[in-house]
């Protein structure tokens, strides 16, 4: 930084300027200050998530039941595995980043290039995994019925596995057949151009009710978490009652409005927080690519220091740091 900063002060005079009490360059310090403010933004989001969760403490979805998918292992329930893999990828790319910074201190250009390259690959894998996670979450798996009060009713049946009675979820499609309906989706082109509606649900509540009545083994599970920390399963009579009296529409998957796993707020916060974090990762990858090419064309070699790599490194580690917290509060706690 000596080439860009002119030292005007003298060493004897404290107030003469040119002091660096924190012994850190301007750019690095500003990166730290940015990180502090960004950390406060993220903690604001996570605290808001905590607020909403405390508000619905007995009704909140259980993350282990939501994020059970792993690519290429279709139909298996493997909670946490994929997100643990994502966490590991991000920590790993943090390691290659810090190795790049270290190589930069030793002015080893080729090593910096390779470590930066691995960091970028790690970041890309992470962003891709997050996109896949989103797609799976949006698509949903079992489907559910939303009640008039906005609660979610899910379906399942008791199965005996290894001599133990376990409640296993059943997809609505497996016991319901769509009846013929004259209800047509209203599109903008068939009427008022400014009035439209989104795609109609695959089943009506009546279809689901008929399906439920003709399959005596299927029970309804509510959102309420009981004393064992599990969702409450209703009796057969109560199941039919709930669907008949309170059922409003069939939902599958999650979006900003409904969420087949439980409270819509869960989906909203999931999209918002992981989305905001994913955006950080994405911009981190872009900045890393820029610095990567700068290293290749030898900008920092000529500048005789690799502090720029250190600065983007700080940002990259911060993204990893945030993920550690998102991982805990979204998937573990």
């Amino acid at each position: 930084m000596d080439s860009t900063v002119v030292s005007t002060g003298t060493n004897e005079k404290t107030w003469g300027g040119g002091n660096q009490p924190l012994k850190s360059s301007y750019g690095k310090m500003m990166m730290w200050f940015f990180i502090v403010s960004d950390a406060l933004t993220f903690s604001g989001f996570l605290a808001a998530y905590g607020f909403s969760r405390f508000k619905f403490i007995d009704y909140w979805p259980i993350a282990d039941e939501v994020f059970t998918h792993v690519p290429f292992l279709h139909g298996q329930e493997l909670p946490m595995i994929y997100v643990a893999f994502m966490t590991f990828i991000l920590i790993m790319s943090s390691v290659t980043m810090v190795l790049a910074v270290d190589a930069g201190h030793e002015m080893k250009k080729n090593k910096v290039i390779w470590y930066m390259f691995f960091t970028i690959i790690g970041g890309a894998i992470f962003v891709g995994s997050q996109a896949w996670e989103w797609a799976t979450f949006i698509q949903g798996d079992y489907g559910a019925v939303q009640t008039k009060g906005g609660n979610i009713l899910q379906f399942g049946t008791y199965k005996t596995i290894d001599g133990e009675e376990v409640f296993k979820r059943v997809a609505v499609e497996d016991f319901t057949t769509a009846s013929h309906t004259d209800r047509v989706q209203h599109e903008n082109k068939n009427g008022l151009w400014f009035v439209g509606e989104s795609a109609l649900p695959a089943f009506s509540v009546n279809d689901v009710l008929h399906g439920l009545e003709s399959h005596p083994e299927i029970l309804v599970r509510t959102q309420t978490i009981n004393e064992e920390g599990e969702k409450t399963v209703l009796s057969r009579a109560a199941s039919i009652d709930q669907i008949k009296n309170n059922g409003k529409r069939y939902v599958k998957g999650a979006n900003l409005e409904v969420n087949e796993y439980g409270a819509p707020l869960f989906a909203d916060f999931f999209f918002f927080i992981t989305g905001f974090h994913g955006f950080h990762v994405f911009s981190g990858v872009v900045i890393n690519i820029i610095i990567f090419f700068n290293v290749i064309i030898g900008t920092y070699e000529r500048r005789k220091n690799y502090e720029m790599v250190e600065k983007v490194g700080l940002y990259w580690h911060f993204v990893d740091l945030v993920w550690v917290f998102v991982f805990t509060f979204f998937y573990l706690v």
Partner: protein, 146 residues
């Protein structure tokens, strides 16, 4: 830029020979912590699914005790373990990957205490209010089981 790195972690219990070695050592530590979290998260031992202490009963002293030990009284042990492990991970990422260990004491305090103070305040106030609204929903006249 060839400044010296501090190479010991655990208050000098483990001392690495070079900075590169320290990075791999910290990676190992972080991986082990993540592995513990994932295993605990999948198996959820029943013993850890309840808070480790019961609330104190009685006067002002009990109230004070409940506040001081609130983490043990109102949080499931498992969740408390997760939060503590997360903070441990955050510490090593900041200290060794972001080189906070090598910065001056004043820069360290500037960054760390500011965030800790503001985040604690934010978290306290939001969780407190979330609990209050929950109590209004539960004990008030808000119907939501329909």
């Amino acid at each position: 830029m060839a400044h010296a790195h501090k190479l010991e972690i655990f208050r000098g219990l483990i001392k690495f020979k070079s900075n590169t070695q320290k990075i791999w050592g910290v990676l190992l530590l972080l991986s082990i912590i993540t592995l513990i979290e994932v295993v605990l998260g999948i198996y959820k031992p029943a013993a850890l699914m309840v808070p480790s202490m019961t609330p104190f009963e009685g006067g002002f002293g009990a109230l004070l005790g409940n506040i001081i030990f609130s983490g043990f009284i109102y949080t499931k042990s498992l969740n408390l373990i997760f939060i503590v492990l997360t903070i441990v991970k955050a510490y090593y990422i900041t200290w060794d990957f972001m080189h906070m260990r090598d910065e001056t004491k004043s820069l360290r305090r500037l960054v760390v205490w500011t965030t800790i103070f503001l985040i604690s305040y934010l978290v306290f106030i939001l969780l407190q209010e979330g609990g209050y609204i929950e109590s209004v929903y539960t004990n008030g006249f808000v119907k939501r089981d329909f």
